[in-house]
Symmetry: C2
Subunit: 151 residues, 2 copies
DNA sequence: CTAAGATAGACAATGTCGTTGTCCATATAG
DNA sequence: CTATATGGACAACGACATTGTCTATCTTAG
């Protein structure tokens, strides 16, 4: 195999390793129905994408698709929609207690996973890894338009 | 933002950076209709997943889904199906000239991208990155069952 | 103030891509 | 030879995205 092939695959697998571990752990902590996508969406909502239209823009999908995703999350109990008093067209998307819990738990698990990596690699090597990745990736971390990108 | 959140996102973005650059370059080299998925499938075919059923197993999807993917790739001219003389149920999937060209070009571009990273980071840091990733990811690189995994 | 345009969200039709179930032809094992 | 497993095609369905259209509402220009 050529050299260059390995790097992207390792990056993807490392991501998968973390995300799979996250969701295994989340399932045991009361969030068995969370999917990788949902974490992204909840993050986006928490960061201000609090309507179908703005969520769609943040995620790089149509507002209709964003609306359906919100419906799904609403069905799972992670968000609610409340009418916006200042603009009666809008329905503001709000994280429920369960939603904020999911985010808090995700953060905890990610911190634990990072600690596990630090223990295995040594803190220095992990810091180096993060520094290197920071140098090779765009600064704005939250371009979350991942959904259909791969197909 | 908590510390642990950053690592997985950076890993994913680094992967995206490479894959986007690859396909931008591939488009200019005569493969504008290649999608990220297609590279994975062609790889799998080249590595011996030469029937709908075995491709499905390798990719972690049903044989029907694999069959449709093969049809698509066939329509794009990357593979052909030839009857297997030893087993008249099977139709062996074979890379066309265009298919092998796509793989060769991908390898070239990945090598160039890796060289670009080496130039920017220094060869030592890039080697460190790859070593670190190798330590944290499974050995068998070609578990390519990526398709629906994210949903 | 009013008219024009932009925006939020709902609804419908459609496309893509995965799934399961069924079926037939063919290999393979007992 | 017979029973079972396998490869591939076809059909029905579901998840999830798309575009287009519609109404209600907000915002801006004149």
């Amino acid at each position: 195999m050529s050299n260059g092939f390995e790097l992207p695959l390792r990056l993807l697998m490392a991501f998968r390793v973390l995300i799979d571990a996250l969701h295994e752990e989340l399932a045991e902590r009361g969030h068995p129905d969370m999917r990788p996508m949902h974490g992204f969406v909840l993050q986006a909502v928490a960061r201000g994408a609090d309507s179908a239209a703005s969520l769609g823009r943040t995620l790089g999908v149509s507002k209709q698709a964003a609306g359906k995703t919100i419906e799904t999350l609403e069905g799972l109990g992670y968000v609610t929609r409340v009418p916006d008093p200042a603009d009666s067209r809008r329905k503001t998307v709000v994280l429920t207690g369960r939603g904020t819990d999911a985010l808090r738990q995700s953060a905890e698990v990610f911190d634990e996973l990072r600690a596990r990596w630090a223990a295995e690699l040594g803190a220095g090597r992990l810091d180096d890894l993060e520094d290197t990745l920071r140098r090779m990736t765009p600064g704005d971390l939250f371009r979350l338009d991942v959904p259909g990108w791969f197909g």
